[in-house]
Amino acid sequence: MALRLPERVPGLPVLALVLLLLPLFLGNEFHLDIATQIALIAATVVGLNLLVGYGGQVSLGHAAFFGMGAYASAILTGTYGWTSIPALVCGALLVALLAWTLGRPILRLKGHYLSMATLGMGIIIAIVINNEGWLTGGPDGLAVEPLTVMGAELSIFDHYSLLGLEVSGALLWYGLAALLLLLAVWIAQNLVDSPIGRALRAVHGSEVAARVVGVDTSHYKLLIFVISAVYASVMGSFYAHYTGFITPQVASFEHSIELITMVVLGGMASTYGVILGAVLLMLLPQLLTDFQDYEMMMFGLILMLTMIFMPKGLLPTLSEAVRRLRPRPASAPASGQE
């Protein structure tokens, strides 16, 4: 029987290789720092893509889950002296419970009403975080303890000896973030390739079709809503420990929009595409600093043009272009140069 090789077989090792080699090309610790953050955010977006790209359910409030994870870790470790992992798990459980409770009524909605409801939910959570200063530190933010794993503290400022080598905490953190991203991708792809993932994609493709073959669509929508919320919560926790300081902006509407933009920009329902989306959107503010006053305008323009000319997102459009170039290598470059 001719078993087609699933796409994930080459993808994951390539991503691993890129992540492994990347530190060699990074000029300084600042670049490493950005790379670490990108990896954490990319993992969040991979989770969001399960909901938006594969499930076809738009969420404009996902940063709220990210923020809840971040704040749960910050508060439980900082104020209550927990260690990192139980705090992270507790945050994720809390978020799962909330997503499960809210997801039921919200996911009955369709289209723009769903966007609206998720947006409202996100904003309410952000407002609570902003207002309850006694717990969250309010708009001025909250310092977060470094990550502790089994009594050992992982701080980006320290150096550690690993197998006899002196390794900076920043590099270790990068390694951790890279591992988390690989894990996030691996799990997401497992899910997509499973009967559950198929049911989920069918919800996007044709909800009636899914239902008449026996797929309990509301169950799967809820399931994936919770999963993507947990992704966000867990990454939010790591992110809080990594940056060492969080403000309510991590849970804000703007951040939600940023996350969904990464998904759409990179390419919905393309796991590697959304990672590319995260990379670009995180780098853009750094790249555009030279434009000074024109920065905001440039950002808007780039976003708009990319989506107009590549409505399917960067990676799907690029790979389609490559595929089209391949069979007729002689004629294609000519049309590309016009």
Binding site: M1, L3, R4, I187, N190, L191, D193, S194, P195, I196, G197, R198, A199, R201, A202, H204, G205, S206, V208, A209, A210, R211, V212, V213, G214, V215, D216, T217, L223, A269
Partner: protein, 269 residues
């Protein structure tokens, strides 16, 4: 044809006939005051090919949507294998052995042909969440089996060339058959086909006829809404004629062809 079909051709008050697979009693559905389906009753027996015909707007698709749980009936009962099922959602009905296709294709265009049919196997697969998350070996084995069954079905409906094609890239006629393959993948007791021949050329229609015969021969009860009279008359055991949501006539193709009411309705009476 098989035995049960022979029996239906005897009179209606025969108490010895087998229990109907699907029974509809006094079904009604109105949209904004217009009765799309009005006090409709009929029975479909196991193994027969049952066609529903009628002019446009006669309520055929509404009837299908009511039977398959996409619409809620305003009144009336529907029984599947003797069990009351009116108001149940489609996913519950699928568990009870009901499957269907659509007049306007409902194919998941974001998936391949194979995946669409594998989707049809949904109810028959292990759907353990952790197994899916971690991709356990048992899951991989069951996926392999599922893939093989789906390929088999795609070949059965005559779409063997398109196994790994993206659904979005397939021609219309192939998609219509793909939808049947997906419906068959659920291993239904009763299969409802909504205008399967619409948009097909005569060669394709002939192939479709063969396919429906093969399906029925496999013991699956087939209900179809169809405009192609030649097809209906040649494969149906019994025909139901709807007009303005009401039953105009019911009987064998021969009876229907000779029914004066039907002739009047069809010839602009």
């Amino acid at each position: 044809m098989n035995q049960s079909v022979q029996q239906t051709e005897t009179s209606c008050d025969d108490t010895a006939r087998p229990a109907p697979l699907l029974e509809v009693r006094g079904l009604g559905k109105a949209f904004g005051g217009v009765h799309a389906v009005d006090d409709l009753s009929f029975r479909i027996l196991p193994g027969e090919v049952y066609a529903v015909i009628g002019p446009n707007g006669a309520g055929k698709t509404t009837l299908f949507n009511l039977i398959t749980g996409l619409y809620q009936p305003d009144q009336g009962d529907i029984a599947l294998k003797g069990e009351a099922v009116q108001g149940l959602p489609p996913e519950r009905l699928a568990r009870l052995g009901m499957s269907r296709t659509f007049q306007n294709l409902q194919i998941c265009m974001n998936m391949t042909a194979l995946e669409n049919v594998m989707l049809g196997r949904h109810l028959h697969l292990k759907r353990n969440f952790l197994a899916a998350l971690l991709r356990w070996p048992s899951l991989r084995a069951s996926e392999r089996t599922c893939r093989a069954q789906a390929e088999e079905l795609i070949r059965f409906v005559g779409c063997g060339d398109y196994v790994d094609a993206d659904a979005a890239a397939m021609p219309y006629g192939a998609l219509k058959r793909l939808e049947i393959a997906r419906a068959l993948a659920t291993q239904p007791a009763i299969l409802l086909l909504d205008e399967p021949a619409a948009g097909l050329n005569s060669t394709e229609t002939a192939a479709l006829e063969q396919l429906i015969r093969k399906v029925a021969a496999g013991g699956i009860t087939v209900v179809l809404v169809e405009h192609d009279m030649k097809l209906v008359m040649s494969i149906s055991d019994r025909v139901l004629v709807l007009d303005y949501g009401r039953k105009l006539a019911e009987g064998t193709p021969r009876e229907i062809r000779d029914n004066p009411d039907v002739i009047a309705a069809y010839l602009g009476g």
